[in-house]
Symmetry: C2
Subunit: 179 residues, 2 copies
């Protein structure tokens, strides 16, 4: 049961967006530019960072949905996403993405815990300043989205089909269509 009168039958963050469209607009704009805008990081890679952070935050709605969104846009599919969440240091991803995931994990814990050595590692693996910036902001933004969903106790569907349907829509139409 959600803590406040969110519309029934609307899953997760979308019920909060429907309840308060004034704040939904900027939040969807942020998700769209961050996860789908022009970028040297692929959309699947950015969704993977979002899924990984949401998993660390144990937000079931965001973790499940962004894992699907990542799987749909990565060559390795769901198997790779699960491997990354289980152990990013040994999953079959680039060293650059591994270094960005390590930065994201630190940001999730506390922004102040990111050290010069974490940045150096990412740079040595070829990450640009914009890529480092975006990894930091994706991690920070999901610390917001996760808390928003769980702080309101928004409805989290159990059936995998619900997430596949959301994934199809996000991949095809993006986040702006969610409001």
């Amino acid at each position: 049961m959600p803590h406040i009168a969110l519309p029934e039958g609307v899953p997760g963050i979308r019920s909060a967006f429907a309840f308060r469209p004034e704040t939904a607009g900027p939040m969807c704009d942020l998700a769209e530019v961050l996860l789908r805008g022009d970028n040297t990081l692929e959309r699947g890679e950015r969704e993977l960072i979002a899924a990984y952070v949401s998993d660390l935050n144990q937000c079931r709605f965001c973790q499940t949905s962004h894992s699907v969104f990542a799987a749909l846009q990565l060559e390795g599919g769901a198997e790779l996403v699960e491997a990354v969440k289980a152990d990013p240091e040994h999953a079959e991803i680039s060293e650059k993405l591994r270094a960005l995931l390590a930065i994201a994990a630190k940001v999730r814990d506390d922004g102040r815990s990111v050290g010069e050595e974490d940045i150096e590692r990412a740079r040595l693996a070829g990450a640009s300043d914009v890529e480092i910036h975006d990894a930091v902001l994706i991690a920070a933004a999901f610390c917001m989205f996760n808390r928003y969903v769980d702080g309101l106790a928004a409805w989290t569907p159990d059936e995998p089909a619900a997430y596949q349907a959301m994934g199809k829509r996000v991949v095809e139409r993006g986040y702006l269509a969610r409001v």
Copy 2:
């Protein structure tokens, strides 16, 4: 020293906004609607929630700046802001605001820690669903803003005058003028 090449001499989050205007836009829009838009919670009360959460997250830039923004817009001024950060349960604020600050502290820790009893307490003190929603989202949003600033190690000025100047601008012109 910031972790990436943020513009020099621009304080805190504004340097990150200048570095990446594509993401700055939605973030400023969110701050504007959440902290300054039409609301039954006063602007000073909303800034107080932002300052309180930023203080719990130990983000010096956000904590200092939003404390000033709150003080400039609350009758009790800086003294009240400091009293709330030190001990919200005994500060001279309404029971409604006290209950909303308690919810904000739980959201900051983990969205899942908000209980039905926290919501009940806020409702009994007269909080509406929108006010509860906004307290949850302000807390969640500052978990993003705080990590964004500290995760990039953005420059945090020491001089109080710098924060007073920012406060004057935010109170007069809002967050959209920050980009």
